[in-house]
């Protein structure tokens, strides 16, 4: 073992030691920096969108610029922030430690994943050189065939980032299967690991389909192969099928790791054994399994048959079952627990509140008859922001605070962290709740302009976006202030029971002094 006080951060020095590192913890830090940067860019685009929608008619940008802002916000947030977000940062850092391993199964592949994400991001963003892309993040044909040539860069970039996602998932599956320490049976792994496992299955199975779809779209643009082009006999609806066969499971790639984080947070801050460990673990797998059979609910008005519509409607509602199982188990865990309202716990409780709204409105959208009315309105926008922001980003913030002492070895200012929650939680609801009403009243999504009747609710929504921005800035200040204050973190500040809290903060290069061995479940509180 190294000298006292040595850890993974100070065991090697210089930029190069970071760029060629094979240590899963250091790679996680690389992801922290890049994902937060992308989040900043995507967030600026979001604020731009909301600012433009403050009043009807053009205010701060023209319609073309607006469409590019909308596309960049979607593409960056989906492909560069919430898909890699929790798995690549916290999965990389804590998955090996939580199962008592020294690293992920394939450390070199792990580093390659990060470089692929960076490369894909650069290729994507280079589309700005070609008038930008204004198709929305879904690149629907035939418009994406006719419009800006930047679509080629954007989709190639998304393809490369998809490879990064596949390799991360593959790495995690093998790590979970092969590198568990003695006694760490599949019944003893933390629920975050179960969630990552389910996520990885989707990543490995669904992403290749998106890969080939995007390659076909590139071939369409470059050579005019016509498979998706009605002018050449091709079928644009086939593109939608292919796209959503990946992209619907992809929303579970985004939410499952978040649910895993929430399971960790709820049990830790309730000081109580998680209620229904097995149910939560298997409901993750159930969500992953069902996710492959629901893509048609994006296409209720794309001309698919009535029978297909009914079947997809039914299958989509099935997703509600495992999701509700998780929610009720979290609430049951808190019941008669010793709940401490740390900032992470606030985010976890905020998650349960907003995610339930997002989930229930999801059932409304799954009902084929109602979807005909809600389709492509702001109701859909509000729904998926309640799930993706209220779900994934809340969990991401909770995770950042929860694991901050372990990752960086310092404590942060609890009051500031709580303040960031207050702003984000209130701002989030002020921004997106009015959008449910706007959508139900018929305001279409993605439009640059709207009729004056919608002005008031749009103004409220835009003001909410400023509150969210303030909340995230406070969050960033909290993180930076923690680095400056340098208050040393103990090994286990929250009294948590999972393995990562048994080692020093921050961990040493090899995580454990000797391979641990466990004899019971991960949450033996009481």
């Amino acid at each position: 073992m190294g000298a006292a006080g040595e850890n993974y951060i100070n065991c090697a020095k210089g930029l190069k030691s970071w760029l060629i590192t094979l240590d899963h913890k250091r790679i996680a830090i690389l992801y922290v920096i890049s994902v937060l940067t992308f989040f900043f860019v995507g967030g600026i685009a979001a604020l731009g969108i909301r600012l433009e929608l403050f009043s009807p008619g053009p205010d701060v940008m023209n319609a073309d610029t607006y469409n590019q802002f909308m596309t960049f916000h979607g593409a960056i947030m989906v492909f560069m922030v919430i898909i890699p977000g929790i798995p690549a940062i916290f999965g990389n850092f804590f998955l090996p430690i939580m199962i008592g391993a020294k690293d992920v199964a394939f450390p070199r592949l792990n580093l390659l994943s990060w470089y692929l994400l960076m490369f894909g991001a650069i290729v994507s963003i280079s589309s700005l050189l070609f008038n930008g892309v204004d198709t929305g993040w879904t690149f629907y044909t035939p418009y994406s065939i006719k419009g800006s040539a930047g679509v080629i860069n954007m989709t190639l970039g998304a393809f490369i980032m998809g490879m990064s996602s596949v390799l991360t998932g593959l790495n995690f599956i093998v790590t979970i299967h092969k590198l568990r320490c003695p006694g760490m049976t599949m019944k003893n792994i933390p629920l975050f690991v179960w969630a990552l496992y389910s996520t990885a299955i989707i990543q490995v199975l669904a992403t290749p389909v998106l890969g080939i779809t995007l390659l076909l779209l590139v071939a369409e643009r470059v050579m005019g192969i016509g498979i998706f082009d009605p002018a050449l006999g091709g079928d644009p609806v086939l593109y939608q099928h292919f796209f959503w066969f990946y992209s619907h499971p992809a929303v579970y790639i985004m939410i499952l790791p978040a649910m895993g984080v929430i399971s960790e947070l709820i049990t830790t801050y309730s000081k109580k054994t998680i209620f229904g460990y097995t149910a939560i673990a298997y409901s993750s797998l159930a969500i992953a399994a069902v996710s492959f059979f629901v893509w048609g609910h994006h296409m209720f008005v794309s001309g698919q048959s009535e029978v297909a519509g009914i079947v997809f409607s039914f299958l989509t509602m099935l997703v509600g079952v495992p999701t509700a199982i998780k929610t009720f188990n979290w609430v049951a865990t808190m019941y008669k627990g010793s709940v401490t309202l740390k900032s992470s716990m606030l985010f976890a409780m905020g998650f349960i509140f907003v995610f339930t709204i997002g989930g229930v409105t999801g059932i409304m959208l799954a009902t084929a008859g109602m979807d005909v009315h809600f389709h492509d309105t702001y109701f859909v926008v509000a729904h998926f922001h309640y799930v993706m922001v209220g779900g994934t980003l809340f969990a991401l913030m909770g995770a950042i605070y929860h694991w901050y002492p372990k990752m960086y070895g310092y404590m942060y200012n609890e009051l500031l962290a709580k303040l960031s929650f207050v702003f984000i939680f209130i701002g989030f609801n002020v921004t997106f709740f009015p959008q449910f009403i706007l959508g139900a009243n018929g305001m279409p999504r993605r439009y640059f302009d709207y009729i004056p009747e919608y002005t008031e609710l749009n103004r409220i929504s835009t003001m909410g976006s400023w509150l969210i921005a303030i909340g995230f800035v406070i969050g960033l200040v909290t993180i930076i202030q923690g680095f400056i204050r340098k208050e040393k973190a103990p090994a286990n500040p929250w009294g948590s029971k999972t393995l990562e809290w048994t080692i020093q903060s921050p961990p040493t290069h090899h995580n454990f002094e000797s391979t641990p061995s466990v004899s019971g479940g991960p949450y033996e509180y009481r």
Binding site: H177, K178, I212, L216, L238
Partner: protein, 212 residues
């Protein structure tokens, strides 16, 4: 030929066997992604074939089943030599392993040469994908058939080329003494990949060439 080096497993594995098992699982998972990628493209083709059976039949008439059948035999034989390569390296017969792998590489080369002949003859008749199609045949949507033909065989051909590169790489590593009876993970991994590339062709040949 240098002597066989003893393989030292990476620090995060318990033993060389542990590392071997994990690596193999990783390779198999990667094969799953390949199946899904080819599967999606084949699915698109099957939908086309069901909705426009006439077009698929008209297109298949331009393909030479003789070339296709020859290539099928070549690839099947290469799978045998690949399997032999793994068999020999596990017995430390490095010379025999290299010869087997060399034969596999040669088969890949023959396959690509035949593919080249097929492509050039089609291109010279204007049988190109989609918008570039210039052949005088007026079957409705015939260009779409060739879009699928080039996408499927092109993606497969790319995999053959990548497989050939990987085989060349492990042949060099065998020459350097990196593989032997105590460590053959790389050889087996490349072997699994090569068999999959072969398997994909087993599906492509009847679905593209033998349309009745």
């Amino acid at each position: 030929m240098s002597t066989v080096k003893t393989h030292k497993h990476a620090f995060h594995f318990d033993s060389a066997d542990h590392e071997y098992e994990s690596s193999k699982q990783g390779v198999w998972l990667f094969m799953v992604t390949e199946v899904l990628m080819f599967g999606a493209l084949l699915m698109g083709y099957m939908i086309f074939k069901v909705t426009m059976p006439e077009t698929a039949r008209a297109g298949a008439e331009y393909l030479s089943w003789q070339f296709g059948a020859f290539n099928t035999v070549v690839l099947l034989f290469s799978s045998l030599t690949m399997a032999l390569g793994i068999y020999y390296i596990r017995l430390d017969k490095r010379k025999a392993a290299q010869i087997s792998l060399g034969l596999t590489l040669l088969c890949g080369l023959i396959f690509m040469c035949v593919k080249y002949i097929e492509y050039t003859s089609k291109i010279s008749h204007g049988l190109l994908p989609g918008a570039m199609f210039t052949n005088a045949n007026e079957t409705v949507n015939l260009p779409l058939y060739f879009s699928f033909y080039y996408c499927l065989t092109g993606l497969h051909g790319l995999h053959v080329l990548i497989g050939m590169g990987l085989i060349a790489w492990i042949m060099i590593r065998i020459g350097k003494g990196h593989y032997g009876s105590n460590h053959w993970t790389g050889v087996e991994g490349v072997g699994i990949f090569w068999h999959l590339v072969d398997l994909v062709w087993i599906y492509l040949f009847p679905l593209l060439y033998l349309v009745e």
